[in-house]
């Protein structure tokens, strides 16, 4: 395979926002995650935990609650006092309704999914009816004296529990009146705290209400009599979240110390019918506050200030020991935040509210495997481009020639022209963007930088001709009638003739750019040169209109078993035009160059060998060589691409650097101090 020079970049100073809420949808096995900057992401748990949908954040939108209702509809509410519904097809916000109760702290959908309940700052609990295309205010419940921080429906839908400051109220849904008020003890380890905040409540079908509060307690209440049944003191800090399994035989709570506790309903003695709640397992996967937890049938899901989404499968629920039983920690978005100009060796980094442009350094030295070469020129920070307004950047791209930068927010599309004069760089905004170019989900430049492809959220694909300092709209591929599916992945062939686009439902469309017509509509789970969710690789030959022979061989022979057990989605794939036999693909923990000329590995061969073969003859080496060249040196790997035949660029983001930028966690007492 040979040697590569690798630009190992660690100056991408990206810090993901902390996770605020997660909501699990049992029907579609999807997980919605909202972050503190207002971003909402949807993960498909069946498809290798791939982050398939994404709604950009907004400065004024602090999401405090997230829930699924009516099956597949996703709602959020936040401190700006609005309830929003997300359009999961077009990937935009359908509407926002002000609840007129001040900031909203909590939200819960009724068990039937037809009603929505929000708890507001002013102490009101408001009931909304979900209509097919909107939500409609129905009525207020009895006003409480302080903010409603948590809500939970009784599974029958007749009662609700609401957690406030220092007490929990139980409401009758029919009359809207509070039937019980359960006062929470303020004492914490013998010390009376000022206030006890009920961070979470859960209403079980037998009438038990479970509450978690800022004094570190998990308490069980009888809602019929309004009395405390049992109290577990589990933490010295706040217990901030609770989630109950659908069968109501286990629940999970998260604390501000970063610990997640699992509680289970177990028989008091073996083969007795009397059961009680027992704290079974503590998990410490977080360093900071666990702001939110969810309970899927097979796993505990938690997220918090330390920005990780942790999915911890429950071993007793997993039947086969495979990689589904492994712990997963998702930190980085699966969408592309980095783009690269090969010609000028530039990297464009996308942050929430600004872009950074860096020029890679260079070296004249050579070396052998593993050497770090002396730099003749260090990397330069060329440009810092701040956006105006409160909206986050959705996507960005730099052209391969390095002279165009495009990015988009929800309401505006920006195109800039860059001029290089020696060491100086000047930036000019291309004004007067056409009205249809308002919001782009994905932007791509053709290899020769003369065309700009924009996937808009209306489902249309726009092709724009760039020449000199001006642009011209060439064509728009409109989506098939009746669908508004948004395209979220784009790829262009190196000669610029073919454009492939993939939407959220995994179909791939290939367009002929020259003749401006839809060429092929593939219907495969995933396709080459686009994102791979399944551990499969397909190669499709467009001129022949069929899968290539290599691809058929791969499918026939099957992949190596270790390859199939990989658990992180591949986030990027690319080719180099001068080496058509090589495919570069990477995920967060490894990258792989597939050499199609070499034989495929079978299950007996060693797939990954981190050490260079030493004293083996050429014959053995040739015999053991196989197509998959894997390296796990760079991690976590956010981006990797070929700059030229022998040069790679790898962007890493060490987790320690992210932790260093987070606020300090709660200090725990150590021994002997």
């Amino acid at each position: 395979m040979g040697e590569f020079k690798v630009h190992r970049v660690r100056f991408f100073n990206y810090v993901p926002s902390g996770i605020r809420c997660v909501a699990y949808n049992n029907r579609s096995n999807r997980l919605a995650v909202s972050r503190t900057d207002g971003t909402v992401e949807v993960y498909n748990l069946s498809a290798n935990y791939f982050q398939e949908k994404f709604f950009p954040g907004h400065e004024s939108r602090a999401t405090e609650a997230l829930c699924w209702a009516e099956g597949q509809r996703l709602f959020s509410a936040g401190l700006n006092g609005e309830i929003m519904e997300y359009d999961l097809q077009a990937l935009n916000i359908k509407y926002a309704v002000d609840a007129f109760g001040g900031p909203i702290w909590s939200m819960a959908a009724s068990p039937s999914g037809s009603q929505l309940l929000v708890g507001c700052e002013d102490g009101s609990v408001k009931l909304f009816q979900i209509t097919p295309d909107k939500i409609q205010f129905e009525r207020n419940f009895d006003r409480q004296k302080s903010r409603i921080l948590s809500l939970s429906w009784h599974p029958s839908g007749t009662h609700i529990a609401a957690g406030s400051i220092d007490y929990i109220s139980v409401f009758d849904v029919k009359s809207g009146s509070a039937i019980h008020k359960m006062i929470v003890d303020r004492q914490h380890m013998g010390v009376s705290k000022r206030k006890c905040i009920v961070w979470g409540v859960a209403f079980l079908s037998d009438g038990t209400v479970i509450s978690v509060d800022s004094a570190g307690k998990v308490q069980f209440w009888d809602s019929a009599t309004g009395t405390l049944v049992k109290s577990h003191l589990i933490a010295n800090a706040d217990v901030q979240s609770i989630a109950v399994a659908e069968q109501e035989d286990s629940f999970v709570v998260g604390t501000a110390e970063g610990t997640v506790f699992h509680f289970q309903l177990v028989p008091v003695t073996s083969n007795s019918s009397e059961k009680q709640w027992v704290r079974t397992k503590p998990f410490q996967h977080h360093t900071h506050d666990v702001r939110t937890v969810a309970h899927s049938p097979t796993a505990l899901i938690s997220g918090g200030t330390d920005t990780h989404l942790v999915i911890r499968p429950l071993m007793e629920k997993v039947e086969v020991k495979n990689y589904d039983a492994a712990l997963r920690k998702i930190t980085f978005p699966h969408r592309r935040l980095i783009s690269c100009s090969k010609k000028r060796q530039l990297l464009l980094f996308q942050f929430a509210h600004h872009l950074e442009l860096w020029r890679l350094g260079s070296t004249v030295a050579t070396g052998k495997n593993g050497d770090t070469l002396p730099l003749s020129k260090n990397a330069d920070h060329l440009l810092h481009l701040k956006t105006k307004g409160p909206e986050n950047i959705i996507c960005s791209c730099i052209s391969p020639c390095g002279s165009w930068i495009a990015y988009s927010t929800v309401s505006r599309f920006f195109l800039y022209r860059l001029n290089y004069e020696h060491d100086n760089i000047s930036l000019k905004r291309v004004s007067k963007m056409p009205p249809f170019l308002r919001c782009a989900l994905q932007i791509l430049f053709s290899e020769d930088s003369t065309k700009l492809f924009v996937a808009s959220n209306q489902g249309a694909l726009h092709i724009v001709q760039l020449s000199g300092g001006s642009f011209k709209h060439l064509h728009a591929f409109q989506p098939q009638s009746g669908t508004v599916e948004a395209m979220c992945l784009l790829a262009v062939s190196s000669d610029g003739n073919w454009l492939a686009a993939s939407g959220t439902s995994a179909g791939v469309h290939v367009y002929n750019v020259k003749q401006l017509k839809v060429s092929i509509g593939l219907n495969v789970p995933a396709c080459i040169s686009l994102c791979h969710v399944l551990p499969q690789v397909f190669e499709y030959s467009i001129p022949d209109k069929q899968y290539t022979d290599w691809s058929r061989t791969v499918q026939k022979q099957g992949f190596h078993h270790l390859w199939l057990q990989r658990d992180t989605p591949i986030t990027h794939i690319s080719f180099h035009p001068k080496r058509p036999m090589h495919i570069l693909l990477h995920d967060a923990y490894m990258f792989c160059i597939i050499d199609k000329s070499l034989p495929l590995p079978n299950d007996k061969t060693l797939l990954y060998n981190p050490f260079p073969p030493t004293n083996e003859s050429d014959v053995i080496r040739r015999r053991t060589a196989h197509a998959f060249k894997i390296s796990k040196i760079y991690k976590p790997l956010l981006f990797m691409d070929l700059l030229d035949e022998r040069t790679l660029v790898a962007v890493e983001r060490p987790l320690d650097d992210i932790i260093a930028q987070l606020p300090p966690p709660i200090k725990k007492k150590k021994f002997g101090t």
Binding site: K5, R8, Q187, M189, G370, L373, L375, N609, P612
Partner: protein, 720 residues
């Protein structure tokens, strides 16, 4: 020598509004809070230690603030002048400057000057001075002209000298400077002409002044970069005559070169002066040098460089405020008295200023509540000025008076009813005072009539949470005499300020009182868990394992003691597993454990307790410790149990105070050996843990070094 601490910028001070940046920074009535006025429309109240604004007020669009806002320390109001003539007075609760008190004056105001302890003064541009109250009485009064035409006030300062306010202001006319000193005790205005001395061409850039017994020391920073000092006598010899003053060179070339702008000077105290200026204005506009020098000795002590552009400089308390560019930088500093000790580094630092204890108790002299009795002149004037409808105060609450009279005469039963009645009332503003008076009354009567002891009443009053030991020291004294352990327990739980001697007296009673008399009392048992039912022999086995975690008893040098102990193993098990005291006594002792104390004051009193009692208490504490270590969280069961730290501290205290006595007692020997073993095992566990921690840290360091390759590198990679 002065030490400058790390600076910080008050970033959220929005200065862009004013074209000339800030007008001034003035102290507010609370330490650490400052009024920042920008030259546009805004006044911000800033809390420096938190680096955040507490309040912000703006005048209307079109109006311009012309004089920095100051605080009237007497009324806690803020005063600002906008459009030269309009005076506004407001306080913290006001939101909108348009709606606050307004007075339009007949002449233009130069500055309002306010210092702690006196009413603010208003200095007009024509040189006249008025007290604020006198001015507000008739805002349109005629203001005379003091200074001549074309004379302009350059700078002013207000002092208190021997409790008399003194105002000094400097004027300039055609390059000549005049100093005016206004004395307020004698109402004399003295005018001086400042002679510039040898260097007539230099322009004075900045003034500052400090007071030194007989003289006002006026310092000026000239454009040649030197500081000059002029001494102005506080008591003028002949006020009528126009006098001249000569200045003398104090510090040479503090600010080097030909600076024309951005220099400032301020006297920090009698020995220190802070100077800010730009040294090479031509070469680097942003380079500023600040030097701190010991003024008197002309001794150069330290140079500090600040690379910033500074136009103005203020200081208050221990903060230097510098305006540079459009942001305000605060540098906390400390001027220490120079001494041989400090030069040798042997000076003992005083108390850490950070540990400032907030007073916790109600000050009965000045009730700060709803204006009860707060009827002094300022208050009434203020209310009048704010044009508020004065709420007529209710006449003195009769129920409390009635209660007090009942206390003096009636029977216990009747008093109890009255007290209950009073407590059932809604809490009145004078609630605290009445409760205090009631208790004092009751205690006085107790002392007078030995048979009178209204126990229930006192208990109810203690439970109102408003009493403290210092308020009614007799209460615990009487309870001690009566051996009323229940009341003592309540006091220990409720009072935050019991002296150690009293705590110790309580402890003595708790330890000595007979079990049979304890049975009759009704002490609160919430801190005691029923220890007796959870004792099993198997548990004890585990127990010792935990205790000896990390060390092997065989290696123990005290093995002969072990043998001795092993002779009566069953005895020992029995001793350490059952609680050595009855539950009621345990509850009382727990109250002692919870109480606050300071070791130095407690130790001498602990020595007075008989040795048998000490041993009993130690046994109980040891028993609690064993209970604690039974569970992983090291806590005791129960609602309000003593914590492990409290238990350990008391064991240490008792041993410290009585070791020589206890060590001689044969019955305490086993306990002491147990404690010794406990400490020894703890030490060995901790030392092992510390070793592990250190080795982990080293490993972590190694690991980091291996992974740390900097932010960018080009590497060679070969794929096989």
């Amino acid at each position: 020598m002065a030490a400058l601490e790390e600076e910080f910028t008050l970033s959220s001070v929005v200065l862009s509004a004013g074209p000339e940046g800030l007008l001034g920074v003035e102290q507010s009535d609370k330490t650490d809070q400052f009024l920042v006025t920008d030259s546009g429309r805004t006044v911000i109240l800033y809390k420096v230690s938190d680096q955040k604004p507490l309040g912000s007020w703006s005048v209307k669009q079109g109006q311009v603030i012309t004089c920095p806002a100051v605080c009237n320390f007497q009324t806690r109001e803020y005063i600002v002048v906008h459009d030269n003539k309009v005076l506004r007075i407001w306080n913290n609760e006001d939101v909108n400057l348009d709606k606050v008190f307004k007075a339009t004056l007949s002449a233009e105001v130069y500055r309002i000057l306010s210092v702690q302890g006196t009413e603010p003064l208003v200095l007009f541009k024509e040189g006249a001075v008025r007290g604020l109250e006198a001015l507000l009485a008739d805002p349109q009064q005629k203001i005379e002209t003091v200074i001549s035409d074309e004379e302009v006030i350059k700078w002013t300062k207000f002092f208190i000298v021997f409790r008399h306010p003194v105002l000094i202001f400097i004027t300039e006319k055609h390059g000549n400077y005049f100093a005016y000193v206004q004395m307020f005790n004698s109402r004399i205005l003295t005018k001086y002409t400042l002679l510039l001395g040898q260097d007539e061409n230099s322009v004075i850039e900045s003034f500052t002044a400090s007071v030194d017994r007989k003289f006002i020391s006026l310092m000026s920073l000239s454009s040649d970069g030197c500081i000059y000092e002029t001494l102005i006598p506080i008591r003028p010899t002949d006020p009528e005559k126009n006098q001249t003053l000569v200045r003398s060179l104090l510090l040479k070339a503090v600010v080097s070169g030909n600076t024309r702008n951005g220099v400032a000077l301020t006297a920090l105290d009698q020995d220190h002066v802070a100077v800010l200026g730009s040294p090479q204005a031509a070469s680097k506009a942003w380079a500023i040098r600040a030097r701190l020098r010991l003024k008197k000795k002309k001794l150069f002590l330290g140079i500090l460089f600040f690379w910033m552009l500074i136009y103005m400089l203020w200081y208050y308390g221990e903060n230097l405020f510098m305006l540079h560019g459009k942001s305000l930088t605060v540098i906390p500093y400390k001027c220490e008295v120079s001494s041989l000790a400090s030069a040798l580094g042997k000076l003992k630092h005083g108390q850490d200023p950070g540990t400032h204890v907030m007073p916790r108790f109600v000050n009965w002299e000045t009730p700060q509540g709803c204006g009860l009795g707060f009827q002094n002149s300022e208050q009434s004037r203020r209310i009048l000025r704010r044009r508020k409808i004065e709420v007529s105060l209710q006449p003195e609450v009769p129920p409390s008076k009635q209660l007090l009279s009942t206390i003096m005469e009636d029977s216990e039963k009747h008093i109890e009813v009255e007290v209950r009645k009073f407590l059932a009332l809604k809490q009145t503003p004078d609630f605290h005072t009445v409760i205090g008076d009631t208790v004092t009354g009751l205690l006085e009567r107790c002392k007078a009539e030995p048979s009178f002891y209204p126990r229930n009443c006192l208990m109810q009053l203690i439970q109102t949470h408003v009493l403290s030991y210092s308020l009614c020291p007799d209460l615990m004294e009487i309870a001690l005499i009566k051996k009323d352990v229940q009341l003592l327990q309540l006091c220990l739980q409720q009072f935050p300020d019991i002296p150690e001697s009293v705590t110790c007296a309580c402890l003595k009673i708790f330890l000595s009182i007979g079990d049979d008399s304890l049975q009759e009392t009704d002490v609160s048992m919430e801190s005691v868990f029923d220890y007796s039912n959870s004792v099993h022999d198997e548990k004890m086995e585990e127990q010792t394992e935990i205790l000896q975690n990390g060390f092997n008893p065989e290696e123990d040098k005290c093995s002969n003691c072990d043998q001795e102990l092993n002779k009566k193993p069953q005895d020992e098990t029995k001793e350490s597993t059952s609680c050595p005291v009855v539950p009621k006594r345990a509850a009382l002792l727990n109250a002692i454990l919870h109480s606050a104390y300071s070791e130095t004051f407690l130790l001498p009193h602990l020595k007075d307790i008989p040795a048998q009692h000490i041993t009993l208490f130690l046994k109980y504490l040891y028993f609690l410790y064993l209970k604690c270590s039974e569970n992983a969280t090291m806590t005791l069961p129960g609602i309000h149990p003593p914590t492990l730290n409290q238990i350990m501290d008391w064991i240490c205290l008792l041993l410290d105070a009585n070791f020589t006595v206890v060590v001689m007692m044969p019955e305490a020997k086993r306990l002491l050996i147990n404690l010794y073993k406990l400490v020894k095992s703890q030490i060995s566990v901790y030392s092992e843990l510390n070793k592990i921690e250190v080795s982990f840290r080293e490993l972590q360091k190694l690991n980091q070094e291996k992974n740390n390759r900097g932010l960018y590198s080009i590497e060679v990679l070969e794929l096989f």
